[in-house]
């Protein structure tokens, strides 16, 4: 079966500004695929390229194996859900959902039937006659999804559709979206700058930074096996300490840092002598003991959250390091001002090349 969406060397430039640089990607049918990245990194641009509102400056977009060059947004088998939903305010809910069908000349009774089914699916069976302005935020959200699903696209594109909702509703809609995707079985391409959203919902995630897709993989792999410093620090909390590699062997390496030698995994195979960063997750740092890599610092701030305690400490160089201590540590909670000795196991440290600037 042909890939749902394929990007091959896609570049998008606005004047001199490169919004998307050399995107290569294959998205499988039925996949829930997310683009994760900070604001302005080119997510919307890439999505609009897939839905034909932007022509790529270079490169090929294929949908279902077909080259989409010269095929307009109204002819592509994609449906886009806009960042602001863009429901039609002068139409009723039912007319909104039925719009795509009306355009396609689907006869009235068939259309009504389908709209009715969709209204039931989004749990708004009694709201068909209402105006969009009479709905709540979450209800509008669902109407937008139904309007897009009505035309039976093979790929549904969602541009941060939950960003306008409050936290509670957002969490609810995440589950709902996922359920809808499972039920209809089509490819969802989802854009977000919220890593929690991306991690909980997606089969795979593409992490973007400044127009470049830095890493593609499932949630676990982008979290546990980041390939670039950006991914390591953008997905989840992370502490980065810089230094120079003193020895590297067998996939591990030791970094000479201002706060002492630290050892971690070296998946990219950086050679000794290189400048590098070592990343340690807050939850990988342990208090006390005698781990292979360790350093000292002064506790600045301790936040007790029940199952987890967050500690911010300052090491000799003045850098701030965060720790998340599990519930087991509850007995020996540090106090602000305490001198702490912390450390981590080699498999919890990750060495990555330092980016050119920084």
């Amino acid at each position: 079966m042909a890939a749902a969406v394929e990007l091959e060397g896609v570049n998008v430039t606005f004047g001199d500004f490169v919004a998307v640089r050399d995107a290569n990607l294959t998205i499988e049918p039925g996949e829930f695929f997310s683009f994760l990245g900070p604001s302005g990194c080119g997510k919307t641009t890439l999505l609009r390229t897939i839905s034909a509102f932007i022509e790529p400056t270079r490169g090929t977009v294929r949908i279902g194996g077909r080259d989409m060059k010269g095929i307009g947004p109204n002819k592509r088998p994609t449906a886009l859900i806009f960042q602001n939903l863009a429901l039609f305010p002068m139409m009723t809910v039912a007319e909104n959902i039925g719009y795509g069908l009306r355009v396609r000349g689907v006869p009235r009774h068939e259309r009504d039937e389908k709209v009715k089914n969709l209204l039931i699916q989004i749990a708004l069976p009694e709201h068909g006659h209402k105006l969009v302005s009479e709905l709540s935020g979450g209800q509008r959200q669902r109407v937008a999804i139904a309007r897009a699903l009505a035309v039976e696209p093979s790929v549904l594109l969602l541009d941060e559709p939950l960003s306008a909702l409050d936290l509670k509703l957002r969490q609810h809609m995440r589950a709902e979206l996922r359920a809808i995707q499972k039920r209809v079985g089509i490819t969802f391409i989802y854009i977000t700058h919220d890593q929690g959203e991306a991690l909980t919902m997606s089969d795979r995630i593409a992490v973007m930074n400044a127009g470049v897709i830095e890493q593609v993989g499932n949630g676990r792999s982008v979290y546990a096996e980041p390939r670039t410093p950006f991914v390591a620090s953008f997905v989840g909390e992370n502490n980065a300490i810089r230094g120079r590699i003193t020895q590297a062997a067998n996939g591990t390496a030791t970094l000479d840092t201002p706060i002492g030698p630290l050892t971690g995994r070296n998946p990219v195979g950086l050679p000794a002598g290189d400048e590098a960063l070592i990343f340690v997750r807050p939850e990988a740092l342990k208090l006390g003991g005698d781990p292979p890599s360790g350093f000292e610092g002064e506790a600045l701030d301790v936040t007790y959250e029940g199952s987890i305690t967050h500690v911010t400490m300052r090491v000799r160089t003045g850098q701030k390091i965060t720790l998340s201590l599990g519930g087991g540590a509850a007995g020996i909670l540090p106090q602000p001002g305490d001198m702490l000795k912390v450390g981590f196991e080699p498999q919890d440290g990750l060495l990555l090349a330092r980016p050119e600037r920084s």
Binding site: A86, F88, V103
Partner: protein
């Protein structure tokens, strides 16, 4: 005379009082919330505003119109007989419009009736023509033109209106006359053997009228379309709509108030236009406004003129109401 003076002073005060009472009433019904008019402005300023608006509404709007209505129902009399026994209410001025005589109803006054319907009909056509010309332009300006081009377009649209209306009308005359530039070009290019009589066939009139009120159509349309979220157009397109469908079912419904206010403005202005028909009208064309003008200044029959003017006003009101009906709008919405 002192009775008249009392009237002049008392009526505006009465109008002011009515305004105040009306606002009271609305407040009572809960239509308006928040601090009251006098609480907001203070009693002195509030009273001044109420009286000033009362005077203004009365002298500028109500009184002249009432005088016209009154005049239209009176016979034409020499000044010495005004207010005398012969100064009675009569329908003779309206009768004259229909039958061409103040007394007999034997023959229809086809000349004037035709002119009236011609004016109305052509004004409707010109309104539609204007809408057809302005909608694409307004859409382009509001949704797709880059800022720099928008500025140029706005300037190009506005600058010609710095030239006054009569001069513009004569310019059209110069352009379109038998020996005019257009005919010369067409004949020089070998497209024509003899000049076309643009003016005699009223082409000039239609062009002049359409052009004269272009802005009145463009700006309401532009405003209305500009407020449409671009994403809605894209959403419709993404759902598979062809461009005409998007215009008919997404853009136009949104721009409805703008279309309605543009249409009513253009219609009223062109139905009431005086300069363009006088300068550009063909010899066989009798527009209604020059007839009204003639009633006043050629026939010196002010009552009759008033009646004619009111007939035109009435037609305009009917048109506005019909348009509002058609678009299912309230008067408040087109004024936005």
């Amino acid at each position: 005379m002192s009775g008249g003076l009392t009237l002049v002073v008392a009526l505006p005060l009465l109008a002011a009082l009515i305004l105040i009472l009306l606002s009271r009433l609305e407040r009572r019904k809960g239509a308006i919330a928040g601090p009251g008019f006098f609480q907001r402005n203070g009693v002195a300023v509030g009273l001044y505003l109420a009286v000033a608006v009362g005077f203004w509404a009365f002298f500028i709007i109500v009184l002249p119109q009432l005088a016209m209505v009154d005049l239209s129902f009176r016979p034409k009399l020499p000044p010495s007989q005004m207010g005398g026994p012969k100064d009675i209410f009569t329908l003779e001025n309206y009768r004259y419009f229909l039958f061409g005589s103040t007394t007999s109803t034997a023959n229809w006054n086809w000349l004037h009736i035709k002119a009236f319907f011609l004016s109305i009909g052509v004004s409707i056509l010109i309104t539609l023509l204007n809408l057809a010309i302005c909608y694409p332009l307004a859409f382009h300006m509001a949704q797709s033109a880059p800022v720099a081009r928008l500025r140029v377009l706005l300037l190009l649209l506005i600058i010609p209106y710095w030239v006054n209306e009569i001069l513009r009308a004569f310019a059209f005359r110069v352009l379109l006359s038998s020996g005019g530039v257009v005919n010369k070009l067409l004949m020089g290019g070998g497209l024509l053997d003899a000049p076309i009589d643009f003016l005699g066939n009223d082409v000039g009139l239609y062009m002049g009228l359409s052009y004269a009120y272009l802005l009145m159509m463009i700006f309401p349309l532009y405003n209305a379309i500009e407020s449409l979220d671009r994403n809605q157009i894209e959403a419709a397109r993404d759902l598979g709509a062809p461009w005409w469908h998007i215009h008919a079912f997404v853009v136009m419904p949104h721009a409805k108030p703008g279309i309605a206010s543009g249409c009513t403005l253009v219609f009223m202005l062109s139905a009431g236009a005086l300069a363009a028909p006088l300068v550009l009208g063909g010899p066989r064309t009798l527009w209604f406004t020059p007839i009204v003008y003639d009633r006043f200044y050629q026939a010196f029959n002010w009552p009759q003129g008033a009646a004619y003017a009111l007939i035109l006003l009435f037609a305009c009101i009917v048109f506005v109401l019909a348009v509002l009906r058609m678009f299912r709008l309230s008067l408040g919405e087109i004024a936005r």
